[in-house]
Symmetry: C2
Subunit: 230 residues, 2 copies
């Protein structure tokens, strides 16, 4: 599938990497019921497992969920948390929030819970001595590797983050020391949207890249662009 | 460079994405002094800016550092922290640790500090209501996007995490509310190593992917593979 000894990227190969990066989407509504077979899944997990990790710790694990009853139980946890979330927004924004579709847990044929084992390499980890969360960051890099590989496989991925972690850990029988980093919904899709759902819905605008760049040192406060008006 | 409307990936395009994922390395010693021009840099930053972000928050900023005096000051902070780090390992492992090359701050022509502004979208952020660090995770996704784009551009990236964050923030005049997520060294390289430095050095072994996969629920404790013997 790939040749490690071939270091050079052709212009077409380079463009393919950018294509995956720019056309990747957080998918919630476009999932098809088509099965995602294990051969594709294993390629995606191998991509995740090739992520950089602090001290070569490889702290990630993957819980593959296909059982509808487990997905339904997870969706119930999402709905409880999402009701709480809606109540946190200012009253005038709540109806907008409640209209957004934020997960595809049961419609996606496959769910994937990606965790971080903070003790996997002993108490002192090379590169984690001063930034304690580097192992969590490594696990996020694994998520993003998988997400881009999925895009190249025409597989949509949606990241669901509206949960009480303790309840989700209990449901999935995840031990105490393990941290949940991501809960993903995966499946083939009818199409990939041209822009992020929240941008199209007018929830927030795309920031200009140039406003986010400093030279040599932080120079001035970034002017935040306000939330778009409903 | 890419066409958003072209959703389908050819097998060659798919393979190019995997090639970037599997041949990406954390680079410390292979940097060339060749300048990295702004056109390439802007493509890499655009790739980072295309990362997923919780609530479309886009919390990242980028400090581009080319000034040798700034890099030297950063390297001094690294060395202070790295001496502390070495002392944290068991005595028999310290000489091994001290022989490892862990940064290319001054040899890389460009350094990049990637930060997260936790207040960029106001106090209540869609998707961050229950997982407070989702904005940090979004910023890590931006790092990994940039890292893979860099690999496709034949640009090496090394992530340096051995710092006291407060000292690095002071040096780069980063405001209090902003969190440093990554400090990266970037430049063209003599070559990309075939495997991770720490794997080749025998610091730790590659874990088997199958040992990291659970089905439906977490089933048993993962047997950790011990650190390789020096």
């Amino acid at each position: 599938m790939y040749d490690d000894s071939c270091g050079d990227f052709s212009p077409a190969e380079r463009d393919a990497v950018y294509k995956a990066i720019f056309s990747r989407r957080d998918v919630r509504r476009e999932f098809l019921s088509t099965n995602l077979d294990d051969a594709v899944l294993m390629r995606l997990l191998a991509a995740a497992h090739a992520a950089p990790s602090v001290g070569f710790m490889q702290p990630w694990s993957f819980i593959v969920i296909r059982d509808p009853s487990v997905k339904t139980a997870v969706q119930t946890l999402f709905r409880e948390a999402n009701d709480e979330a809606a109540a946190m927004f200012e009253p005038e924004r709540r109806p907008f929030y409640s209209r957004l579709k934020l997960e595809g847990i049961c419609t996606a044929p496959l769910n994937l819970c990606i965790t971080c084992d903070r003790d996997r390499a002993g108490p002192v980890v090379l590169g984690r001595t001063h930034m304690r969360d580097m192992d969590i960051f490594s696990t996020v890099c694994a998520v993003q590797n998988l997400w881009l590989a999925a895009r190249a496989e025409e597989v949509g991925v949606g990241w669901v983050s509206i949960f009480h972690e303790a309840k989700l850990k209990q449901l999935l029988r995840i031990p105490e020391r393990i941290v949940i980093v991501a809960y993903l919904c995966l499946g083939y899709v009818s199409h990939f949207a041209e822009s992020p759902d929240l941008e199209r819905a007018g929830w927030r605008q795309r920031l200009s890249l140039s406003s986010l760049i400093h030279r040599e040192r932080w120079v001035e406060a970034i002017e935040d662009q306000p939330n778009a008006v409903e």
